[in-house]
Symmetry: C2
């Protein structure tokens, strides 16, 4: 919708939305109707109003605290890269199991030893975490995150997390090697199909 | 399957596979039948054979070259973090539009100015790229990647890429803020549902 607003539009039709996100206009209208009465202007929805309604319904207008667990190169880059995050997400803490790393890392975001995880998450009301710890450590870390009351995890460790945690926390797994495998499989099958 | 092998198993049933990936055993058997005759041992598939067959069919046993475009903190972390990649993917080059960065970055992987992108990708046969450039620069970078013949892109820029490139290259979009929004929406809806 930022894209449409950038083009100077103030309203949008279900057809236009459908084309952007590759679904039929009927589904778009049905989904929008779930979030309640929003009204239409001419043949479309008022963009500002639609954004506000969707944002409220999905809790996107609330500022949420996040942390990074595992301060190797990738974790440190994420901790310090503020551009990665929109205004509604604020990284307030970093964690690592190495005390030496905690003591030597130069960053304006506070960093703590991993054994303080549950405690600090609970006290600061942190809801989201990015974890970049090695695969073998990820289950232990997630146990502590869940203990502290974390609600969502972006998992960069190479071990995907599903079932064990699915009723306590939402996890989004991301593994670059896994994405490479997936993309390679796609273009390999395309080659086989065409040649 | 590495997980099953780690447990000392040498064969696996379609039921077991289905439970791991959350699909029915019937779908698993159907999908496996597409990759050709593989045979069964007792009530299951021989794991080593299944891995080899799937790997060959999907081109996963081939070593592929990859590059990183955009050498800010995140890009540099990905360039240098070899643990992120399995043996079959080798990062052979980094690119940045800042000549100053190219000249000062200390890394054992060769780095080049972004204007050499298409040329180096073509000459070295690089098939995969990770891009961490700012959103506004991503389309230009992808044009050059496509010109060089890249086949797959993992996109960390905040601008998701779909339609324009979908017939030339496969793109996997990843945006941490976007994942945070998605996870927040999930747990917000759960709260509304239960409260």
């Amino acid at each position: 919708m930022e894209e449409l607003e950038g083009n100077g539009a103030s309203s949008v039709s279900s057809n236009e939305i459908g084309e952007k996100i590759w679904v039929g206009s009927h589904s778009v209208r049905k989904d929008i109707s779930y979030i309640g009465e929003i009204g239409t202007v001419g043949s479309g929805y008022e963009i500002a109003k639609l954004k506000k309604h969707i944002g409220e319904k999905l809790g996107l207008n609330v500022e949420r605290k996040a942390c990074v667990v595992g301060l190797g190169k990738l974790g440190t880059a994420i901790l310090q890269n503020e551009k990665l995050f929109s205004n509604n997400f604020k990284i307030v803490a970093g964690f690592d199991s190495s005390i030496n790393k905690i003591e030597t890392l130069v960053t304006h975001i506070p960093v703590y030893p991993a054994y303080d995880l549950a405690d600090i998450i609970r006290k600061q009301g942190i809801e989201l975490a990015v974890i970049t710890v090695p695969g073998h450590a990820s289950r232990d870390i997630i146990d502590r995150l869940v203990e502290g009351g974390i609600r969502g995890i972006v998992n960069f460790s190479s071990v995907p997390l599903h079932a064990t945690y699915k009723e306590k926390v939402y996890v989004s797994n991301f593994d670059i090697a896994g994405e490479f495998r997936f993309l390679s499989a796609l273009f390999t099958m395309e080659q086989q199909h065409h040649g």
